[in-house]
């Protein structure tokens, strides 16, 4: 599974993209897995209320299942326009 980070999430994690292979049920499980790995993930995922998640390039939420998902992206609220 590809995991992508954008804007300050990318900066805190320290990379734009990585591959995570693990048996996970939901997005929240992925977040927990990352938080347990290193301090920089703890910082990036400190406040989930200011984070958004997209599954296979569609906006989703942290309780969504990861079944058949190939690409997960984490980022702050968007500021386009």
């Amino acid at each position: 599974m590809d995991v992508l980070y954008f804007a300050w999430v990318r900066e805190r994690v320290g990379l734009p993209r990585e591959v995570i292979d693990a048996n996970l049920n939901t997005v929240m499980d992925l977040v927990e897995l990352l938080r347990e790995r290193e301090e920089r993930y703890v910082l990036a995922f400190a406040d989930l209320s200011v984070l958004r998640v997209a599954l296979d390039q569609k906006l989703s939420d942290f309780n969504a299942p990861l079944t058949d998902v190939r690409e997960v992206a984490f980022f702050p609220p968007m500021t386009g326009g």
Binding site: F6, P76, T79, G81
Partner: protein, 146 residues
């Protein structure tokens, strides 16, 4: 319907002329253009990051919703990413409709959704450093009117 995501500048005058020209069914053309402005003083540049792939899909979805909701003959979205300087044009939308109410409302709808549903993130570079532009509560609540 046309949706463009590009790093290069776009020619506003030519785009508007091309969009509006030759229409015989639409009496009303509305455009919105977003410009890099100096909000707090000292702005030097703006960097726009985007989620390539998702961006195009999100913009098409927003434009499709606008066309299904209002009686539009056509709509256009152009959004840039990369490095911009003060006064540069960031993006534009255009709508063409028989009636001005449809053209105005659809353009405002496109803008409201672009602001907080299209995967772009702005970073401002000032004399004192740089920082990510915070999303506005207002932009989120703007969606609730539609």
């Amino acid at each position: 319907m046309r949706v463009v995501v590009q790093e290069a500048p776009f020619d506003l005058g030519k785009e508007v002329e091309k969009f509006a020209g030759g229409r015989t069914l639409s009496g009303a053309i509305v455009t919105f253009t977003g410009v890099v402005r100096d909000v707090n003083g000292g702005l030097q540049a703006m960097e726009i990051e985007h989620y390539s792939g998702m961006t195009e899909t999100a913009l098409l979805e927003i434009a499709t919703k606008a066309e299904s909701r209002w009686s539009l003959e056509d709509c256009l979205v152009i959004h840039r990413y990369g490095n911009l300087v003060l006064g540069d044009m960031i993006m534009m939308v255009a709508t063409a409709a028989r009636h001005r109410k449809d053209a105005f409302e659809a353009a405002e709808y496109l803008m409201d959704y672009l602001k907080s549903r299209a995967p772009f993130w702005k970073r401002e570079v000032t004399h004192n450093g740089s920082g990510w532009v915070a999303s506005l509560e207002d932009d989120e609540t703007a969606l609730s009117r539609w």
